[in-house]
Symmetry: C2
Subunit: 465 residues, 2 copies
């Protein structure tokens, strides 16, 4: 760990600079950088330029890099030296804001408000990801202000398409591999485990999305005149969906569990020690019973076990009242969360073969793929992990935990696959931040202690070399 | 049968009056009497008034009878005598016309056009039911013109709410039972069996409609963060739907087949003799294999066997692209076509109990009923049936058949249950009439030979007394 004499004044500086740091974040949040809506292209560019200027104010060589979509922001700080070289990734784009009428205040007129458990920064992007991104930038600013230099060489890498599928990300990483390769990647786009327990996310589930449309008759039929004799594609679809799980809650697609190993004992022991409140987790959404595989805990179900969920289904008449139609087609959106070594491309084929094998005569199926990314499982062998975990534990009341995340953040896997480097996901979001929803917020505590956490992590990483 | 000397001049008169009869039908069709849309209330009244005037021109005592909805038209012709007394039912209201852009000509600017197999009367209501209704009225007009009288006493009973659920029908029939009670009811709202084969429909399926909504979590969830641990109501709904049929295509609701008997041998033999072209029936809608109970013919599947169909299903995200939502609820509209003595009210309870029994922990279900009418099975013991069958066989190339109909026409059952009288369904529609759809038409042959058929039926019924 960095000697306290170096770190302590940085932490103090962060404390005294909190108001100014918050004002800078609010500036960035006022730019409506909605990446998925072409109407906001100029605003995305404006947010990227804002970040370039801000990085330059730290003494970084920063610039915009064009892509076919929204630009990347790249910044470098620190000369070639023995100091460790870290890359920091965040994204400056935000989700759309509809339904606008559910916001209590204008989404792009952010403000600091008093919430039931302390001050919060309210507005679109506060937690996802502008607020999180700025915790790292502010930590760097404080080091620089106190010591005139940073403890590590740093490459900043900010994306503007994370909320719209990151179409330019992989090509950009491949084209700029040499420039982006560092000792480790730091990503700030995840959450605390609990409000007092910081976390490093080491397992992210992969995602395989499939849309299937089953067609029977060549037109919609009257269910009186044809019902009984004509195959009903909604019934076929229901049978397919019902077939995807067995009575034990296991997924029946042949070979589905290939490549999955049981949780390593040390990870299992750590998770056990987290005393995850399964009852509260489910109770918050009106449930009481874990619905996944028999014999698994709820934490396993969402962190380390794969799923098959139906995200949407439609067919026939769905308006008010009743219409006795026997429809020509029915469709469903089905997604699989993947873990361990599950191969999304092989599973896509296995799923399609399974569905096709269930079709009765006269039915056909059309598949449409929506994404296929494997799980990311970060090895914690890299000493940076334990260094960061110690640093986080120093800042927060509870010891930092290695946790899983049921969602999918493909960038973590890209750093490993494309650049051959480990990625460490550290974030300070909370479950009630309402990301992607109206009234998004970021706790002032997340912002303040998040910034202090990064200062500690940078110190710890520099001391470990 | 009536002596040819009485009938033949009536048939000749029908032939020579066809152009004028068509002009009268077009007049009636120009009135947009769309009963389901309150904007057309005045037009429904206008159509009722048109019919009153037309019946009066035949010498009938005719008038409008108010109901809480659109009015009934009642007319009587003929004095108390030994002549048989028949009631004729039809409906003057029509279906809405959207999607309007799919019509080749304005729906309420009807015209006679040349189709691939002869002249057709094109426009909304041509077949359902204004054209069919007027076949009977025109037959009466011809009798009256030739003989100055009619061979039967006739009560005309025209409804204006058939296309909007007939809310006033049962109360009206109960309140006017004495006036409406005759020897037999004639209904013209069905189709020929095949284009050269007239038919009397003696079996109509009943209908039970149920809408079910299954709720799991109390809000929509992110399928990454909750998928696996949280119950997915779409999956539950799919399992329920898949459970409703067994491997033999039989419906699994307990007691579902109670009250159903095998088809009587004489009816089975008649149906066998129809040489129904199963291949063409299914081939017309892009199918090849009957999808119902193993061991049943397609004709049984649509005429004499019950069904369970899903008419609509919806849940989660159904727009373009993909959204990894785990939805709070999913719903389906499910209908049963009933036959024989199946009791819709008992089956509704059995269905609801079956669905409820399949719910996993944390799920609830809400049911909404949509109609419950038993099947109508007309006994052909009444000699009027054989008399009418002979009359129809005289007019058309093929012998008339007793057939079933997969759809549901509750009025037939009401005549039996409320008024204790048999009802005979005779109609001249064709499968390609596009009723309820854009470009509705009625073949000129249906209109012409339909009118001649009724002249023959009236003659036959009067001769049988």
């Amino acid at each position: 760990m960095a000697a306290a004499p170096l770190l302590d004044p940085v932490l103090s500086r962060i404390d005294t600079d909190l108001e100014a740091a918050t004002a800078r974040l609010l500036d960035l949040m006022r730019i409506p950088s909605i990446s998925t809506d072409p109407a906001y292209q100029a605003q995305c560019l404006e947010a990227a330029n804002w970040l370039v200027c801000d990085l330059q104010s730290l003494g970084a060589k920063a610039e915009i890099r064009k892509t076919p979509g929204h630009p990347m922001v790249i910044g470098h700080i620190g000369e070639q030296s023995d100091a460790p070289h870290v890359l920091f990734y965040g994204h400056y784009d935000v989700q759309p804001v509809d339904p606008l009428e559910l916001w209590d205040a204008a989404p792009f007129e952010p403000a600091v408000e008093n919430g039931p458990s302390g001050a919060v920064i309210r507005g679109r992007g506060s937690s996802d990801d502008k607020g999180q991104l700025m915790t790292f930038v502010e930590a760097c600013r404080a080091w620089k202000a106190v010591h005139g230099t940073l403890p590590c060489r740093i490459t900043f890498f900010f994306e503007g398409e994370e909320e719209s599928g990151s179409p330019s990300l992989v090509p950009f990483m491949k084209q700029n591999a040499e420039e982006l390769k560092t000792d480790i990647a730091l990503i700030c786009d995840t959450a605390l485990f609990q409000s007092k327990t910081p976390a490093i996310t080491t397992m992210l589930r992969g995602l395989l999305g499939e849309e299937i449309t089953i067609t029977g008759p060549d037109k919609d039929l009257h269910s009186g005149f044809f019902g009984g004799a004509a195959i009903n594609p909604i019934r076929v679809l229901a049978k397919v969906i019902a077939s995807l799980h067995d009575e034990q809650g296991r997924i029946t697609v042949p070979g589905f569990y290939d490549g999955i190993e049981e949780l390593p004992e040390d990870i299992a022991a750590q998770w056990e020690a987290l005393s995850f409140d399964e009852k509260a987790f489910l109770g918050d959404v009106g449930l009481s019973t874990p619905a996944g595989e028999v014999g698994r805990t709820a934490l396993e179900m969402v962190w380390s076990r794969p799923t098959c969920e139906v995200n949407g289904i439609t067919g026939g008449y769905t308006g008010d009242g009743f219409k006795t139609v026997l429809p020509a087609r029915a469709s469903a959106k089905i997604s699989f969360r993947l873990v361990g070594g599950q191969d999304p491309h092989r599973l896509r084929e296995a799923f399609r073969a399974h569905v096709t094998s269930m079709l009765p005569p006269d039915c056909s199926v059309e598949f449409r793929g929506h994404g296929a990314s494997p799980a990311s499982v970060m090895s914690t062998q890299n000493p940076a992990f334990e260094a960061a975990r110690g640093a986080l534990s120093d800042e927060w009341p509870d010891t930092a935990a290695y946790i899983g995340c049921g969602g999918s953040i493909p960038i973590a896997g890209y750093f490993k696959d494309i650049l051959g480097m480990d990625a460490m996901l550290i974030g300070f979001g909370k479950d009630d931040d309402q990301i992607h929803s109206p009234n998004e917020k970021y706790d002032m505590e997340s912002f303040h202690k998040g910034t202090r956490s990064w200062a500690r992590v940078l110190a710890a990483l520099s001391a470990k070399t």
